[in-house]
């Protein structure tokens, strides 16, 4: 069919160079010496005025990391990473004391990204002022500013950088940090534990429904700086929080390493909703450059009747290695994973989730939509396990893949393990191409090929988009179109 | 003692009490209708009597011909002579209707110490009874209720009743989802099974069914108990006045 050829041509003419956020902010920054050693770890810890116990924790992780090997099971390939060739810490030299003192360059950067950093702008930028977003913006390694802090404090909500939390709320940090992702969980998480630079900390007290969506925006700017955020969110009994994470990085030729760890703890009757839009630089049309994104995200439904819901829209990075998971420990707890993963150009995505059913009457739901275009590889990798004592566990999994063009690959690797007879698991997966009939129908009604594909793809991912908070859904929808630009006829 | 004797029956599901001290006596040869508004516990009564899991009897007794029903597993209740025509008969894919009927009939005969029917005898009986109810051979070959229309499912229930020859049959909303022609076929099937040795309990929301299956007694159920009893004229009265009177505690 002609449309097939057209699609192929479009894929060939793929132009991923037009990365919208590929600009570099020119500000001076302070870096740790290049490379990784105990000294680097001590340098980072000292820079952040950390207490001794935190330094010891980092050093312990570093020593364990030295004995570990890079995992190779994921379907991603890249040249061997020289971990000594990175800077592990960078911070803007001018440290702001208040929003007014923030480097105008940074503010301008955020403006380009459309992040409403200043409170006034934040309010103006949101359709519904009664649901403002508090933004904790991470600029490279230091949390530059936290907005709405005072208002959140009234409710007893703690929303600050993890560095600040280590200093100001050591008891909470000691109790929960590393309790979901242990020090030696995996190669990248251990590395993160040793050198994490900054990240967000959220604590929602008992019975509090967080009055606003919390948001953080990551941005990798400095050349060859690995970015190692560490995020910890705790919802105490009966609490609720919705957290939004967005990422953009300027265009760089070198591959940039990113290894974040996110830990969520939901106590009895608590609920955490964590949404991510990731559109880091994916590399150019020849597969040069782009972010290496090795992320460990895990939620622990620690209390009965707790719920953790992950929603992700992954459109960026050269390599994505990411499995936001739920440990369903409490009885009647629920885990959810909604994912859209789009790969184009030479991107490689290996992403999915783990749902570990430990408690009684636990349920999980997985909806994954993978879209592969260009020469990309897109893998869903998931695990659903019901342990011996997890009676009446329920899982429903649906993972669909869509292929655009004949040079890409879409793969599905689910592990479904039931060790309890009362488990009821249903898993279904499909892989197909964009229907030529649907395309033709749209074209016949006057849509351009690009609009038609965007329309069809948006329909394909609708179930997941609906899970995103309104503010993100709109951005995500735009990103999907942008990500697939030029990939189709 | 009556054939079916229910005394002060209390039952709950998931700790919610639905039957709250229901008593009813049904003698052989009689047809009783139980009417009542939605949520009054009519279907619960049929499930509790037939032994559906998840329903817990907290108090009271129910006997069939002197046999304590509540002590028995569902299959033993059936063997004791209790039959429930389901409001929503389930589909059992992969189990041919014919196999199902024979397995059920022989299991009950065995439980009662009778000989199993020979295959030719069984086939002859089924064919004869199925023909009366307009059930085709094709339907008998298919999985139980699989791909059957609403009317076909109900007819299949009556066929099972005809075959299993229970002492007490409970018909749970047998008229629901039936058009008038299907209702006639089903009612004729039921009426042909009326006998001096058999009792029937017809559960229905509407009087319509009782034009076709004329009861000897009518009971009104409300909030888990029988709140009124009378002859067949009571059904007509309800038809005229509705259940409005039972919408409130004042009733």
């Amino acid at each position: 069919m002609p449309a097939v050829q057209e699609t192929v041509d479009q894929v060939r003419s793929l132009d991923v160079d037009q990365y919208k956020y590929g600009f570099v902010t020119d500000i001076e920054s302070e870096k740790a010496p290049k490379g990784l050693s105990e000294d680097t770890v001590r340098y980072i810890s000292a820079k952040k005025n950390e207490p001794e116990w935190m330094l010891e924790w980092r050093l312990d992780a570093y020593r364990r990391w030295l004995t570990m090997e890079e995992p190779t099971w994921a379907r991603v390939s890249y040249p061997k990473i020289d971990f000594q060739d990175y800077y592990y810490y960078a911070q803007p030299k001018k440290r702001p004391q208040s929003l007014d003192e923030i480097d105008p360059e940074i503010l301008a950067t955020y403006d380009k990204l459309g992040i409403p950093l200043r409170e006034r702008e934040a309010l103006l930028g949101i359709e519904n002022p009664s649901r403002p977003i508090a933004v904790d913006a991470v600029f490279d390694s230091v949390s530059v500013a936290t907005t709405f802090k005072a208002e959140l404090a009234k409710q007893g909500v703690i929303f600050c950088s993890i560095s600040e939390a280590i200093r100001e709320h050591p008891e909470l940090v000691k109790q929960y940090l590393g309790s979901v992702v242990p020090v030696s969980d995996n190669f990248y998480a251990t590395l993160n534990t040793a050198v994490f630079s900054d990240g967000s900390f959220v604590y929602i007290p008992k019975g509090v429904r967080c009055p606003m969506e919390l948001s953080t925006y990551f941005r990798i700017n400095e050349r060859n700086t690995g970015q190692f955020e560490r995020t910890l969110i705790i919802a105490d009994e009966g609490a609720y929080v919705s957290y939004l994470e967005g990422c953009t990085a300027p265009q760089r030729d070198e591959n940039q390493l990113h290894a974040a760890v996110v830990e969520l703890v939901a106590l009895k009757d608590a609920e955490i909703k964590y949404s991510t839009v990731q559109n880091w630089y994916p590399g150019d049309k020849d597969g040069k450059g782009g972010i290496y994104n090795f992320v460990t995200k895990r939620g622990d439904c620690r209390g009965d009747n707790s719920k953790i819901s992950w929603t992700q829209v992954e459109t960026g990075s050269a390599i994505t290695w990411k499995y936001p998971s739920c440990i369903l420990r409490g009885d009647n707890s629920q885990g959810e994973f909604y994912s859209i993963a789009i790969s184009n150009g030479f991107q490689q995505v290996d992403s999915g989730t783990k749902m570990i059913h430990l408690g009684k009457n636990t349920s999980s739901r997985i909806i994954s939509k993978g879209i592969a275009a260009g020469r990309s590889e897109n893998t869903y990798r998931g695990q659903v396990t019901a342990h011996r004592r997890a009676t009446n566990s329920r899982n429903f999994t649906n993972c669909d893949s869509l292929l655009i063009g004949d040079k890409c690959g879409a793969h599905t690797v689910p592990y479904i393990e039931a060790k309890n007879s009362s488990a009821v698991f249903e898993h279904e997966a499909t892989t197909s191409k964009i229907s030529e009939d649907q395309l033709f129908y749209c074209l016949q009604r006057g849509l351009s090929p690009e609009e038609a594909v965007a329309l069809i793809v948006n329909g394909f991912v609708k179930d997941v988009l609906q899970q995103l908070p309104m503010e993100f859904a709109v951005e995500a929808q735009k990103l999907i179109s942008v990500s697939l630009e030029g990939s189709v006829g | 003692m009556a054939l079916l004797e229910i005394n002060n029956l209390h039952a709950s599901i998931e700790d919610k009490e639905i039957l709250k001290g229901l008593s009813l006596s049904v003698n052989a040869g009689e047809v009783h209708a139980i009417m009542g508004p939605n949520g009054s516990g009519k279907s619960t009564l049929s499930y509790v009597l037939s032994g559906k899991p998840d329903y817990e009897v907290t108090e009271g007794t129910a006997t069939l011909d002197g046999v304590d029903l509540l002590e028995l597993e569902a299959d033993a209740r059936a063997a004791a002579g209790l039959f429930l025509a389901f409001q929503y008969p389930v589909e059992v894919p992969g189990v041919a209707t014919m196999t199902f009927l024979r397995t059920a009939l022989n299991a009950q005969r065995r439980a009662r110490g009778e000989d199993e029917l020979s295959t030719p005898d069984f086939l002859r009986i089924v064919k004869e009874k199925a023909a009366h109810l307009g059930i085709s051979q094709d339907m008998l070959r298919r999985g139980v209720n699989v791909g059957f229309s609403g009317g076909e499912k109900k007819r299949n229930e009556i066929l099972q009743m005809a075959l299993l020859e229970p002492k007490v049959a409970i018909l749970d909303e047998t008229d629901s989802g039936l058009d008038i022609d299907a209702l006639k076929i089903v009612s004729e099937g039921v009426n042909s099974l009326r006998s001096k040795d058999r009792a029937m309990v017809v559960i229905t929301h509407y009087q319509r069914l009782l034009d076709h299956i004329v009861p000897d007694f009518v009971h009104v159920m409300h909030k888990g108990r029988i709140v009124r009893s009378g002859g067949k004229e009571l059904a007509l009265e309800l038809e005229a006045s509705g259940y409005a009177a039972y919408g409130q505690d004042a009733a």
């Binding site: 090997e69 190779t72 011996r388 893949s401 292929l403 655009i404 063009g405 004949d406 890409c408 690959g409 879409a410 793969h411 599905t412 690797v413 689910p414 479904i416 393990e417 039931a418 060790k419 309890n420 007879s421 009362s422 488990a423 009821v424 698991f425 249903e426 898993h427 279904e428 997966a429 499909t430 892989t431 197909s432 191409k433 | 037939s50 559906k52 899991p53 597993e73 569902a74 299959d75 059936a78 039959f83 429930l84 389901f86 008969p89 389930v90 059992v92 894919p93 992969g94 189990v95 196999t99 199902f100 397995t103 059920a104 009939l105 299991a107 009950q108 439980a111 999985g143 099972q160 299993l164």
Partner: protein, 436 residues
Amino acid sequence: MNVVTQIRTAAEQALGIAVEQRTAAAEAGRIGELRRAAATAFAANGLPHRRVEEWKYTDLRALQREAAPLAGTPDAAAVAAASADVMSIEGAPRILFVNGTLVGSASDLALGAGITVEPLDAALRGPLADRVGALAPQRYDGPLALNTVFLGSGLVVRVAAGAKIETPLHIANVFTGAAASTYGRVVLVVEEGAEVTLVESFQGPDGVAYQTNSALELFVGDEAHADYIRVQEEGDAALHLATLMTEIGRNAQLHTFSFTSGAKASRISLYGRFGGQHSQAGLNGVNLLKNKQHADVTLLLDHAVPHCESRELFKSVLADESHGVFQGKIVVHPDAQKTDGRMMSRALLLGETAEMDNKPELEIFADDVQCGHGATVGDLDETLLFYLKARGIPQKEAEALLVQAFVGEALELLENETLREFLIARAAAWLVRRAG
């Protein structure tokens, strides 16, 4: 990069010695080469274990604690005992192997026009010799390596071009006597336009820890139609390892059915490859497990060419503490457009501590495809059970009816009525044994 110190289990050490002994003498020809290559591969890799992805759920190092000695030639008494117990299929000529040795006197070797059988050792000197080992997968497969090293007994079956063989051929493998290991291989060559049905059965005594290692190489020629049914009813202490390899030609059809109710632990590795366009494959099976039985079905289906269709349906019934594994991978190569693949694994957990592990995979490099897989795990539907019980059917009988209906969906896929009824009866017998 990964320098892993090989820790050899006792069984691996014993097997290693046996492998060395078997390949010590210089052996000429193709079979010598195959044997030596397999021996080298085994020496390097040993028995597969749980760190090997394909064996994640079936740790052969743990399951095969001992290397049973190679079975000797059975004596007359053994043959008599085996002949008495062997299963038979109505109307099907039967070839009998006892402890891995072909018993010519108890076999139907003259099969009529269009189909010839030849003992493997003889065939290795004939024109079909190069077919042996031709379908071996690229990656290391431990049991297949051992099968190749100890290759000796077996059968080469050739169905001549255009021959339509109406009656199924039955190759019966019976084990008898004290614990030992057998290595058997069948090569089935279905030439262009030919049709044939092959049944392989495996039986043995309970309580004897014997080991069966069986391999099949199945060549489905262009326009050919092959059916392969395997009935595995080994004794309850046996270890059964099977490797099925097949290549399907153009416009061809292959149907396989695997019925497993025997052995303490079993593993079937199925490697299928479409080599010609417009072909169809249906790979189906039923596993009926109880006590602490373990059964693993792992299949890899390569859609190497366009316009092929594959269907897989596996049903597992897991009673008591049994453990079922299904791993299925459909690979669609870059040029294999218009591939249509559907895979389904359904498991019914009857035992409270029964376990099912499903890993259905899709690996797709072509865009114009329709592929899907599904996996379900659950216990018997309470609503259905109640309906049956409300009709007077006791619990056990109601369960049996529902289980039979559950596996029936797969068994109904068997086109040959005799074989379908044969397996339905074996499933029913299993249910009776379980209830009793």
